[in-house]
Amino acid sequence: MTAPSKIVADPSQAAAAPLLEVENLHVDFISRAGRTPAVRDVSFGLAPGEVLCILGESGSGKSVTLRALMRLLPQGRSEIRGQVRFQGEDVLKMPRRALNMLRGARISMIFQEPMTALDPVFTIGDQIAETVIRHTGASREKAMARALELLELVRIPSAERRLKAYPHELSGGLRQRAMIAVSLSCYPQLLLADEPTTALDATVQIQILILLKQLQQDLGMGTIFVTHDLGVAAQIADKIAVMYAGRVVEYGSAEEVLLNPSHPYARGMLASTVSGQPRDRDIAAIPGSPPDMRNLPAGCAFAPRCAFATDLCHRSEPGLTQRGAFGHVSCHHVHRLDPPAPAGASVTTL
């Protein structure tokens, strides 16, 4: 592969010690049928207190990337390669026990479906207290007091009563808040969020997003937020990494990526959002569908759907071209493409 693998360091990270550095991350799934790549050569960095959104469609490898950071993939059926340095330690080489101390304490995770992530047979209070006790060795009273504090932090009304509630007794929004409370129980430095608002109603989703943004700022947590929704990314992200077929095709600040995208896929995604489209015309949809990961095309994986593709694109995979202060784009023709549409043209204008 000709791709330069080192990415340019974020200058803002050079000052503060980076919280997380991911370099050349690869994930393969192994089955009887063979080896299927899911994540291919992904690199990014995260400073403390920063929010990175990994944006992509289903099968793009965004959730797998997130899980790989915590080594939450099925052992034996998956292989993770590359480097994931969290506060200088390589998570991928860490012994099991150290990893367990990391999980839930310094790094924690929230999921799309709180019903499956919360244990149905324990009360919310018990579940938070258990995490607190496991990681800090606090007494039960202290842990319960902590649980109450956390429920108030995530603004669950009548928190005291909700401590004794079981997950199924809560509404969808409250359940998601409860899961956030569980994940914050040890004040993690890094929060990993896997589409935590996708299953929620619009009026509830916005509440949870605002809450997460506030908590993240107040607690100074670095956050990686996986989503397929451009609107969610716009609402919460400082930086955005757009994934396609297992690779990060565009990486940059939220403004750069959403208002001034370079990669044809990122541009196509933005152009095809329905929001604000004139009603009497077709939407500029990206033709075709994402490739089968078991059978990736040679060259750029987006080439078969790309309006700008040339022979080169079908032959060789593009390297990373630096863009903006720290970002990069993976496209052969990034310099040749006409300057992207003026900021916000495809977005509802302000």
């Binding site: 509404s171 929704d229 716009a234 609402q235 995604m269 329905v274 604000g276 949809a285 569908s289 509802t348």
Partner: protein
């Protein structure tokens, strides 16, 4: 009988549909006082202890050739409504009138004929196709049931698959597991068209799709609507999609209709506080237009034993005593008779202190004024 199945391409040229009965002014579908309560039984004797009031006294009309968008959050009854219209779930009460004929009435329209004229596209593309059947057979099944010969039904299915962008030589023999989500949804659409219906009910038909595929399917739906002379009832929770595709929009909350109006009016000057909150909750792909205060707090209440009076009063920033006492009726706004709202504030005689304020544009309550951006920006887009 057989010309019923003929592809309707011809009808595009001729504006008058030969299947039309009631004339252009007769709505395609009228629903009157539809009601469905699902009982919740409990105890040893299986007595009804409560009921989910999924759809409560819902009335509306769908005009010929239009797209009526139906929006609302989970539990608002929009999916039950779709099944009631198709009679997949029998309504407790209420009536349906399809092109002037009452469904199930003695001299009206038989259920079987309603279903031939009105078809449904389901949300979950995974469970909406029989996994053991090649897609071509799934599409041909409806016409076969209605008596079409095997070879003819097959040819019909193949031509429909081509119409929805699935070349038969590549796709006809495939099984659902060999298709992507978007392709399955195209098959669903082809199947719905197989009986040559005049109206399609699209229940969250693009919600499960990835955004780039969603755009393709929306384009397809737009094209088919013109080509097959269709009327759509488009149910979705996504306000962006509804704005793009609908001519008129109906907003539901906890089993009731709270507002119906032309799409421009709903998106530019929504009157019901719930509609306004819903619109203000929309996310936009612009990081400069972040929302910092939630438009409303709390979750939609459980449709089991919903609150009395106006069902929205528990979450409404403008709720007053009257709101918890009497349920507001759907009334047309004086400014635009097309625009119907169920809110005491829109009724000058209701006794609500803000009553009448909303009737005049520009005097809308300002609780949402502190949410900068998105909802206002989208309005400008529509007005322009």
């Amino acid at each position: 009988m057989m010309n019923f199945f003929k592809l309707t391409k011809a009808t595009v040229a001729a504006p008058a549909d030969p299947r039309d009965r009631g004339g252009p002014r007769q709505p395609m579908l009228i629903a009157r006082n539809l009601r469905k309560h699902f009982p919740i039984t409990g105890g040893l004797l299986g007595r009804t202890v409560a009921s989910v009031r999924a759809v409560d006294d819902v009335s509306f009309a769908v005009r010929k050739g239009e797209t009526l968008g139906v929006v609302g959050e989970s539990g608002c009854g929009k999916s039950t409504l779709a099944k009631l219209l198709m009679h997949l779930v029998p309504p407790d009460s209420g009536e349906l009138i399809f092109d002037g004929l009452e469904v199930g009435a003695r001299d009206g329209l038989r259920l079987r004929d309603l279903r031939r004229n009105m078809q449904m596209v389901f949300q979950d593309s995974a469970s909406s196709l029989n996994p053991r059947m090649p897609i071509e057979e799934s599409v041909a099944y409806g016409p076969r049931v209605h008596g079409m010969g095997r070879a003819q039904a097959r040819a019909h299915a193949i031509s429909l698959l081509e119409q929805v962008g699935l070349p038969a030589r590549l796709f006809a023999g495939r099984y659902p597991h060999e298709l992507s989500g978007g392709q399955k949804q195209r098959v669903n659409i082809a199947r719905a068209l197989a009986l040559d219906p005049r109206m399609l009910i699209l229940d969250e038909a693009v919600s499960a799709l990835d955004k780039s595929v969603e755009a393709q399917v929306l384009n397809l739906l737009r094209r088919l609507k013109a080509e097959f002379n269709l009327t759509y009832l488009f149910i979705s929770h996504d306000l962006h999609v509804v704005q793009y595709i609908s001519d008129r929009v109906m907003v539901m909350y906890l089993g009731e209709v709270v507002e119906i109006g032309p799409v421009e009016r709903i998106y530019a000057s929504a009157t019901h506080p719930y509609t306004r909150a819903l619109l203000a909750s929309q996310l936009h792909a612009d990081p400069r237009a972040r929302v910092t205060e939630p438009p409303i707090t709390g979750d939609p209440p459980n449709p089991v034993n919903p609150p009395g009076g106006c069902r929205f009063h528990t979450r409404c920033p403008f709720a007053e005593t009257i709101c918890s006492q009497t349920a507001p009726a759907l009334t047309p706004l004086p400014a635009a008779s097309e625009h119907v709202v169920a809110c005491h504030m829109a009724d000058p005689a209701s006794g609500h202190t803000r009553a009448g304020a909303q009737a005049r544009p520009g005097l809308v309550p300002s609780a949402f004024a502190d949410t900068p951006g998105p909802d206002r920006t989208s309005k400008e887009g529509v007005r322009a």
